[in-house]
Every structure is written in C-alpha cells, then in structure tokens.
C-alpha cells in the first residue's frame, strides 16, 4: 500500500531539515549594519563621567565594541573570556553599559575585573537603538575606517573568539 508510505516520507524529509537546523543558530540574525559605519554617539565614560567618548576618536584602529550590563546574567559568562582576551592585548575592547546604573556596573568591574579599555554609559539605551541592540550581550567588530565588520549576539565563548572574531581581527589589522 503505497499511500501508507506517504507519512513516513514526509517525516524523513522533516528529520533531515531538523538535523540541519541543529547546526544553525536561530539567534544569528544578520545585522543590516554590517558594512556600514558604526553609528555615532558621544557618551560619558564610566570611569570618569566628565569625559566623553565617540567612535570617531577610535579611527585608525580595529576595536571590539561589547554591549553589556550589570543585570545581564550571560554577560558574566563571557566576562572571563573577555578578560583573557584583554590580557593578551590583541585587540582593544570598548564596552557600552546598556540601560544600567553606573554604580552597579562599576561594582561588577571592581569585583570581577575590567576587560574594557573604556566603558561608555548608555543609561537610556538611545545609542543602543542605533546599533540595533535587541539582546545583551552583543559584540561588534569595527575596522580602522569605523566600519562595522561583524556582529555577534549572545555571550562570546572561547570558540566564537577563535573561529569568528580573531581571524577577522588579524585580517583587518593588516
């Protein structure tokens, strides 16, 4: 009876797709900002609220831009990975403290260590909107001309760092 085979056939196709789906990451949404200049902002520094930083000042070097917050649990997961990276001094990491109390953020850096060259404070999340931040943590790689070359959503793991971020950093630094 051929027609009784139909459900099995459909199911096999489904399993193949689910199997491929396992290897894909649904969170990996391509950012429309890739290839575009990093949106400008001028925000106060966490370390010294009197001073401000804007991406234009970082022209000429490759840098990582990491959006984090003290209230974000998965930011703690990537914290050690970022610390490790900052100690190696391969690429500077600039942080953006997103929708957060500066005192809480400073407390986190004091007790867990500070991987950031500088951290800017985006209290109301306005700058974050321009970057299309929809989940914290998010990490952007910005090249010497201030163009966004890569975006990673979710915590940076050692694997993501090795496979995705560092090769691109080396390429861009040349």
């Amino acid at each position: 009876m051929k027609r009784f085979m139909i459900p099995l056939g459909i199911f096999i196709v489904l399993v193949i797709f689910l199997g491929i789906g396992l290897k894909l990451d649904p969170r990996e949404v391509p950012s429309p900002l890739i290839g575009k200049p990093a949106p400008a902002f001028s925000l106060a520094l966490l370390s010294d609220p009197a001073r401000q930083l804007s991406p234009a000042e970082l022209r000429g070097k490759v840098w990582l831009f990491n959006v984090w917050a003290s209230w974000c649990a998965s930011c703690r997961q990537e914290h050690d990975v970022l610390l490790d990276l900052s100690k190696k001094g391969i690429v500077p990491i600039y942080g953006m403290d997103y929708k957060d109390q500066p005192a809480d953020a400073q407390a986190v850096l004091n007790s867990y260590g500070n991987p950031y060259t500088e951290t800017v404070v985006d209290r109301d999340g306005r700058a974050g909107i321009n970057y299309g931040v929809y989940g914290v943590p998010e990490t952007y790689l910005i090249d010497k001309n201030g163009i966004i070359r890569m975006k990673h959503t979710g915590p940076v793991t050692p694997e993501v760092l090795e496979r995705k971020i560092l090769p691109l950093v080396k390429e861009l630094q040349q």
Partner: protein, 641 residues
C-alpha cells in the same frame, strides 16, 4: 546523599523500563504468558523509582541544596517555598523528569484500569510505553542529569522571574498530563498494528484515555495562554510563538483523533486513519518537546536550549516516530479501512472535520518550521508572524465550526438532507439575524464580528436543538452525549471571546504624571503616582491607578515594575480588573523625567470568554469519560473472560 539516591533511582528506573519495554512485547509476540505478566509489576516498579527520583529532586530544591548544579542555576535562598517547588520542573532537567514521572503515572493508570483488556493487548500497550520511558530516562542520564553535583555554591542564580507565578505551579504538570497522555493512545495504536486487531472494543478502550489526555491538554494550553496574558505584560493571549504552536499541534490532531475514534467505535470506519492520528498526536507531542528543548527555533519561551541534547532528542524522535510510521506503512492495510458511508452522512462530516483539523495542523507546522527550512536551504532568515497564521486559520476554522453544529444532528451512514434542513432552518435563520445585529451593541458593525457571532450562535442553537430532541426521546442520561455538547458549547464561548477582543480592543500608551487622568471606553483612569516596594526576592516600583466610571469608583489597580535581586532582571507585573464583559488591563512602562511614567492601558471586551470556553471544552471531555459505556464494557469483558 538525597541527590545520589535520586540519581541511583533513575538508573534503576532505566533498567526496569528496559525490562518493561522488552519482555512483555516479546512475550506477546511469542504468546508467552509469563513474560507478558511482567508488564504490570515492571511498570509499577519503574514508576516507583521515577517517583523517588522526582521526590529527591523536589527535596533538593525545597531544602536549597546549592551543591546540586540544577538547584544553583534555578533557585535562590530568598525564593519563596512554593516557587522552589515550581523550580523543580522549571529547569530543562527537571521538566524532563516531570515528563517521565507523568508517563509513569499514565502507565500505572493503564495497569490499574485494564482488567477488561486481553493480556496480550495490555502487555503490548505497557511495553510500548516502557520503551518510550526508556528513551527519556536514557536521555536524562546521558545528557541532562538533574542531580549533577558541583562545589557548594554560596547561593543560586534564581528561578526565571517569568516562572515565579502561581500559574506556573500547575501549568507545566497539567500541560504534560496532556502531552504525555497521548502516549496511551499511541501505545494502543502500535498495539493494533502489531497484533493486526482493530475492532470496536479497541476503539472503546482507547477513547476515554484519548479524551482524558485531550482535556488535560486543553486546560494546559488555556492556562498557558492566560499566563501569557497577565504575565508577559503585552496584553496578548496568543502569540503564535513556536512553543505555543508546539502545544497547539498535538491538540488539533488530538481533537481529530477524538472524532475519528467515535467513528471507529460506532461504525468501524476510519480504522487506519485513527491509528495514523494516534501516532500523529503523540509524535507532535514529542516534536514539541524537541522544538522547545533543542534550540532549533528561537522563542520567548525557550528557557533552556542546548544543541547536544537536541541531537539526542532528534535521534530519539527519528527512532520512535520513524519506527511507528514504518510499522504503519507495513501493517496499516491489515488493519482495514472499515464500513462504507454515503456522501452526506455523519461519517463524511467527521471526515471533513478531520481533514480541516489536519490541514490546520499542517499549516501551523509549516509556519513554525518555515523559517528553519529557509535557513537550512541557505535562503536567508525570516520569521513567520501572526498575519500568516491568522489568515490561514480563520478560513479553516469557519467551516469546521459550521460542521460542529450539523455533525451531532446528522445520521450515521446516510443523511436525509431535506429532513435535516427542516430541523435546522429556524435555528440557522435566527443565528443569521442575531449575528447581523449583535455587533451594533459593541459599536461599529464589522463583517468579521458578525461571522464570529454567527458561528457561536450556530453552535449554541444546534446544541439546544439536539439536547431538546434528546430530552424528548426515551433515551436516558448519556455522559458521552452531554459531554460532547458541553465541549461544543465551549467552542462557541471561546469564539465569542476571540472575536470580541480581536475587533473591539482599545489601548492607550501614554505618559502620566501624578494626578493625570485618561478616559478609555467610558472608564476614567487617574494616576496616583508610584511608590517603592520590596518583595522577598525583588525590589521595585508600584503604581496606583484609580478607575472610575461615570464618577463611581470601579477599582484601584496596582501595576508593578520589579527588579529581581539575583538575576537583576527587570520585570513587568501587570494589574488586571477582570469582568465577564470586559477586562481592564494596565502595565507600568518606563520611568520618565519629572516623576512621570509611561503607562499602558487596555480595555479588552469579553476576553475571559476565551478561557471560560476552554474550561467548558475540558469539562465536557472529562464528563464524557464518565460514560457508563466505558465501564459497562469492563464488566462485559470480565464476564467474557
């Protein structure tokens, strides 16, 4: 010590599940009575050890044993006791244990209420359920051990605030009662394929189990929808989120199965079809588990995802569903197709009902997996949203509900069309007239509202006609008959709720300073400001809104904004004033400068009808199970034995 005891119990349960899965099935194939007799004791012993493991996990949570990874990740020393219990199944590992626990519960129920079943049939049913349980226990022990230890942590990282809600205490267990309950119908279907025997008594035995599982699932989905309504703070009651779809699909197929089983029992038709639906309902339950747990789809509900687990579940899925469908392909023709019926008959109406339900399931499945298909083919990332589902669903549900009115009044085998039309003409006319006029009571006339009202009234009228005919006839009480009508009436009530709230909901999103007032649908909201509050494991702000209508106070509402201490997660706790004809719904947004806040206000007409209808459907289902017929057959069965 207690966690190790739980771990050890799980290992014993795994071995017992293997025994329960293999010996009775082999025994039934070889007609070995001693091996078949293993089924009952093995199933009960397996359940006992799963229950011990479950108790051990619950104890670890209640006592706050932060040397257990699972407890540390999902609990906190300041978490109230009731949510510590909830946290037991709030994690991935715990929810898998709950799944297995409930599977054991259903299996033991089968062993208890099965005295009328032939020995070989019971052995096969229990054996199949044992194999499913074995798969889940193996999955837990291999990839998600809930009792994993680590160096003692100072404190836990707290349960997801979304889950810290009284509704979450009962929602997952009841939903799982539904999901897992379909395993009984599945086991019966596999038994029919293995033995090649599928008759009216098989259908009669399967029916109460299927209806029970379906009723639990109905309640479970209803609670999930209600929870999303009051807890997520968006005021929506259904989001077409992958996880919601995952529970809707087995429900739709389960609904089809209930109706198809009725035909198989009464007329001996739809046999292979019924078996297929039983496999389908449980397969979709498993698929739902896969979708939620594997991380192939992102969703607001995915609290735990891990791709290695996903691979295991996928293999398990391929073995269970693929194996069942292969068996179906090989044996379905032996089960037979059953009796003939005319083009217009109750059978044909139910066939159309089944096709519509299955099409609806297919479209939900397609909408849920379409983003994955495109992604897998490298065609880009998209998401399928409510517009797709709404535009597909309404045209499918409309004829379905129309048939739900006629079906129960139609005769088996062949309908006398003029006679049926004569019985229904007044009811149909009255429904149309009332449906055209009803929208005016709510404001402007909209065609979709009239359609919704028509469908609801049509069911109510046909239920009244068939109950009246029943009362006039000499036939006595039938729990099955009245249960069915109650469930159909529930559909009518839900349709009213969905129609009204989708068409007439009004919402305002605005900035309010202390003393500001705003009027929405005749209700005046006065903002009384925001004060700080401190909860057991959170701090936050609580707003006050005084609601009045025509100068008379209606209620005072306190929407909250909370920050949970351990996770630092901000969280909106909406305030709702429930009513039979309208809900007032308020949520606190962000704090703005000058002491003002952004406030969201909704007026939602008839929204509770959605859930009241679902409760009626489930009650109808539970009522039908008590039908004397299912018990009488047991006595007959015993007498025959």
């Amino acid at each position: 010590m207690i966690p190790e005891l739980g771990h050890f119990s799980l290992i014993l349960a795994l071995l017992l599940a293997l025994v329960q899965g293999v010996l009775p099935l082999v025994g039934a194939a070889r007609n070995n009575a001693a091996w078949m007799a293993v089924a009952r004791p093995a199933a009960r012993a397996q359940f006992l050890f799963v229950a011990i493991a479950f108790g051990a996990l619950a104890y670890s949570f209640l006592s706050g044993d932060f040397s257990v990874v699972n407890v540390t990740r999902n609990s906190h020393s300041r978490l109230p006791e009731i949510y510590r219990l909830t946290a037991t199944w709030g994690s991935h590992e715990g929810s898998m244990l709950l799944w297995t626990f409930i599977l054991g519960l259903w299996t033991v129920a089968v062993t208890l209420f099965s005295r009328h079943l032939p020995e070989d049939m019971l052995a096969r049913v229990v054996g199949v359920m044992g194999l499913v349980s074995f798969g889940f226990l193996l999955f837990m022990l291999a990839t998600s051990n809930p009792f994993l230890r680590m160096p003692m942590a100072m404190d836990g990282s707290d349960l997801n605030p979304l889950l810290q809600d009284p509704g979450m205490v009962v929602h997952p267990p009841i939903l799982y009662m539904g999901y897992v309950g379909f395993s009984v119908a599945f086991a019966f279907a596999i038994t029919a394929l293995l033995s090649g025997k599928l008759d009216a008594s098989w259908a009669r035995w399967s029916r109460p189990w299927t209806t029970a599982a379906w009723s639990f699932l109905t309640i479970g989905i209803m609670m999930g929808s209600w929870w999303a309504y009051y807890e997520l703070g968006w005021g929506g009651w259904w989001f077409w989120d992958p996880v919601e779809n995952a529970s809707l699909m087995p429900w739709l197929v389960g609904t089809a199965l209930i109706h198809s089983l009725a035909v198989t029992e009464k007329r001996g038709s739809f046999k292979a079809w019924t078996v297929f639906l039983a496999i389908g309902a449980f397969s979709l339950s498993l698929l739902g588990t896969f979708l939620v747990r594997s991380g192939v789809l992102s969703s607001v509900h995915s609290f735990a995802t891990d791709p290695t687990r996903g691979l295991f579940i996928l293999i398990f899925l391929a073995v269970v569903i693929g194996g069942s469908l292969l068996l179906f392909a090989m044996r379905a023709s032996q089960v037979g197709l059953g009796g003939r019926f005319a083009l217009i008959s109750r059978e044909s109406f139910l066939l159309v009902n089944n096709i519509l339900l299955l099409t609806a399931t297919g479209s939900v499945l397609l909408g849920t997996l379409y983003p994955l298909f495109l992604d897998a083919l490298g065609l880009g990332k998209i998401s399928v949203g409510p517009p797709y589902f709404n535009s597909v669903f309404v045209p499918l549900v409309t004829p379905l509900i129309f048939l739900a009115g006629i079906g129960p009044l139609a005769r088996w085998k062949q309908v006398n069309v003029p006679e049926l039309a004569n019985r229904l003409k007044w009811g149909f006319g009255a429904s149309v007239v009332a449906a055209l006029l009803l929208p005016f009571t709510q404001g402007d006339w909209q065609p979709l509202v009239s359609l919704g009202c028509l469908l609801s009234l049509w069911i109510a009228v046909t239920v009244a006609i068939s109950v009246r005919a029943r009362l006039r006839s000499s036939s006595g009480w039938s729990a099955n008959f009245y249960g069915m009508n109650l469930a159909h009436l529930g559909v009518a009530v839900t349709v009213i709720g969905v129609t009204m709230v989708s068409s007439y909901q009004t919402e305002r999103n605005m900035r309010m300073a202390v003393g500001d007032t705003v009027t929405l649908q005749g209700y005046t909201f006065r903002f009384g400001g925001v004060e700080d509050i401190v909860g057991p494991n959170y701090k936050g702000s609580r707003g006050t809104l005084e609601v009045s209508r025509n100068g008379k106070p209606v209620s005072t509402m306190y929407p909250e904004k909370r920050i949970y201490v351990a996770s630092g997660m901000p969280f909106t706790e909406s305030a709702i004033d429930y009513g039979l004809t309208r809900d007032l719904y308020t949520a606190l947004g962000e704090s703005l400068d000058g002491g003002a806040w952004s406030v969201r206000l909704f007026h939602k007409p008839f929204v509770v009808w959605i859930w009241i209808g679902a409760v009626l459907m489930a009650l109808g289902g539970f009522m039908a199970i008590t039908d004397r017929r299912y018990r009488a057959s047991r006595k007959q069965g015993r007498a025959a034995a």
